[in-house]
Subunit: 150 residues, 2 copies
Amino acid sequence: MYTIGQVSEMFGLPISTLRYYDKEGLFPGMERQSGIRKFSDRELEALRIIECLKLSGLEIKDIKQFMAWCVEGASTYPDRKALFETRKKIVEAEMIALQKTLDMLKFKCWYYETAIRDGNEDRLNAMLPDKLPPDIQKLYDNAHASEKRK
Amino acid sequence: MYTIGQVSEMFGLPISTLRYYDKEGLFPGMERQSGIRKFSDRELEALRIIECLKLSGLEIKDIKQFMAWCVEGASTYPDRKALFETRKKIVEAEMIALQKTLDMLKFKCWYYETAIRDGNEDRLNAMLPDKLPPDIQKLYDNAHASEKRK
DNA sequence: GTAACACCTAAACCTAACTTTATGTCAAGG
DNA sequence: CCTTGACATAAAGTTAGGTTTAGGTGTTAC
């Protein structure tokens, strides 16, 4: 059993955030001792899941729904599974988008490195859009690939 | 040269958003004909870059700074390069975090699939935290890996 | 016995990135 | 001529996810 201050330390989260999460219903059935919150292992595990779900882009109200399902019992297994399946698809799509973004960033790093060496962008402009060095061309093409023809 | 309505169509962005971007200084030096915005190829390219930079997590004010650097000329190449280098590092870190999140999601999908088959979580609880099937164990371990011991 | 702490609540405040609203200009069509 | 539609502005409103503030309680340290 931990106090809110201890949990704040453990997770590196402000106390105000933990209270906000509680107010939003993210710790259903958390114990209290004369008004003071008692975080048990169940709440710590909940917090770990909250951090993951937040990273995956879930909103607070959806996390609250998930926590409510957990309390409700075995009848909500399919709902919980569906939630994770949906998230998985979204995160997979996000990874692909992020890889594209990363290729754009790598290209831009090379671009400005070259511009700095040349002192201008003339040579670069002459290479664009399809006479770049092969490895750079790959980055450029991936970064500029349209989603339409997936 | 395009009107704001045409650009809105082309990029699938609301007109209000384009006007907002303009107000925030994301199209420095955009032409006007008797008050009406004229989007040239330069603004379209800017918009493409804006979309990428937004995806990479950059804020509007930083994008504005970048656009200002572009207008300023060759003396700002190092600033622009530094911006992209920083972004690159951040996105790379994000990819790793997202992979961890994805492993957690995959684990949870398996978890609830199993719970549905069993009708309860008893067998699952008995397997946790280190007697899971090997491939699942890998997901679980990666998802629960602490950042502290990187 | 009082000061320092750690906890509590309700409610106001904050920020980013838009969106909506209210009001107005201007050109073309019936 | 007058309505429709696309453009314009300034300013207010919205939403999520917190954070801050103001005021109060309860326990331990000196």
